[in-house]
Symmetry: C2
Subunit: 315 residues, 2 copies
Amino acid sequence: MSTINDVSRLAGVSKATVSRVLSGSRGVKEASRLAVLKAVDELNYRPNVIAQSLLSQSTGCIGVICAQDNVNQTTGYLYALEKHLSQHQKHLLLRFANTKTEVMNALDELSCGLCDDILIIGARFPLQIEQENVILVDCMESDNVNSIQFDHAFAAETACTFLASQGRRQIALIQPQGSGFADQILLGYKHALEKNFLPFNRNLVFMEATSSSVALQELLHNASTLNFNALLVADEQEAQRVIPQLQAFNKSVPGDIMVFSLAGSLHLPGIPTIPAIEYSMDAMAARIVSWLTEKTQMLGSYVLRGDLIIPDMRR
Amino acid sequence: MSTINDVSRLAGVSKATVSRVLSGSRGVKEASRLAVLKAVDELNYRPNVIAQSLLSQSTGCIGVICAQDNVNQTTGYLYALEKHLSQHQKHLLLRFANTKTEVMNALDELSCGLCDDILIIGARFPLQIEQENVILVDCMESDNVNSIQFDHAFAAETACTFLASQGRRQIALIQPQGSGFADQILLGYKHALEKNFLPFNRNLVFMEATSSSVALQELLHNASTLNFNALLVADEQEAQRVIPQLQAFNKSVPGDIMVFSLAGSLHLPGIPTIPAIEYSMDAMAARIVSWLTEKTQMLGSYVLRGDLIIPDMRR
DNA sequence: CTGTTAGCGCCTTCAC
DNA sequence: GTGAAGGCGCTAACAG
């Protein structure tokens, strides 16, 4: 790889002039400008970004630590983030981490000057981060740190109101253990019931269920008396797990029971889409990038609301 | 962020001694060693990797350009790669690129000293790369470059032999346009037929099909005379697209027709697994990392063979 | 054992 | 307009 010295020698000017031409080109004699450009082209010279980084104290690298348990869900985040980052000449440095220890290790390894800022995505364990340049995205809440939270209460409320509008007035709710945000979701759920004049039935609600399967079985055991016709689950993965189970018990979906995912649905050919709340990865990425690039004001704790997605129900 | 100067000052030694303690610690008086360590701890000093990179001319960053059209498939690659890379103190720099132009742009932006080496994954368009430090993974073939290819002929052969062993002797084959590797797959298909004494019927084979749907309809139109009972498709995505279509035509899967994917199957809860050839992402990542770290011998053109995955067929 | 010196490649004053 | 010098943070070679 050729350096600025090679170029300056070949062009017969000083390093400073080369640098000037390549950055602003302001106040350089046309003759030397051309000479530099020619040399650059001949040597196929590219300024070394590492040397630039050393000087500017910033690399343009953004560390992204994916702590999601559902690896499939990371794709959406990564794709949107990368698209937005690369548009701003920023690079995405990827790490996966499944435990708090792994996250902290990754954080450590990325905080040695390599990354300007770091994102932690989808952690379902508490994290105390002091660093100003770390953003928590869809993580368990924690204070005095920049974060982007999804509005789970709002999601649950939207879901229930939608279901009620569809004539589904017995809405069951299953939250698997450690999915986080259980209280927020319950809050939204209760709000919606109230507003729609629906009674709250605690037998329809399973927070912190050990497994959605067990919770579902309990629900079905009491089906004669309970007779629920809608089921709110945490995310797409839960939904895809629950649907075949319902079918196994001879319940049609969505005929008898409408399954609703509170976080995303699968968009794969051949797999039935279900109604869901989906968070716009694009909006999220845009918000993050604008903070990264401007940084004038604190991000603070930004709350993102999801969109109601209804599959084409004609069939 | 504190620098080596701060540490040396606080510890009352020179920069060189600090550096010695932090790297090898060989031949340093215990007293000064402790002084340095204490200062390091107090200042929470971490050597700046960018400065180290400038000196060593290597950053430990590996660029990964995902050119896959099926974004869901990238997750497998990324997860395996990141795991292996981080174990060797290497960082994964992620880019997505959907066209040749985008790939070349990405390549350009990553080749300015930021990345030691670059991987391009899943490109289905021809790519002429000269650089020695670029590896093509599962890309359309091209010569004089390091690459890891999947053995598609072997996959097709395995698939047919397996299907034949299951009593499926009328094996249809659909390859969508631009999926690449059509000739290799056809080769393996024909080999297997020969070895299993099965006739080759050109009406069962659709290479370069505009859409798998159309090909499938043609197949079904002639179902009375053709009567195929197995269907080879390019990948999991194709499979999931094709299965509901078959069902819509009243063909049970796998009862009437066994669908076989030549590249991976979906492992999601609630979604039926189908027989498939799967390539071990772990093996691939291991191979790549060993080349990256050792680099003693050329990688050349390495061919990876896939594993036959059979779903639990009890139900 | 340890300090001094000289760069890695680049950009930015500051003189000329 | 342009060149020389200094320094970003670090390590390696060379003296002591």
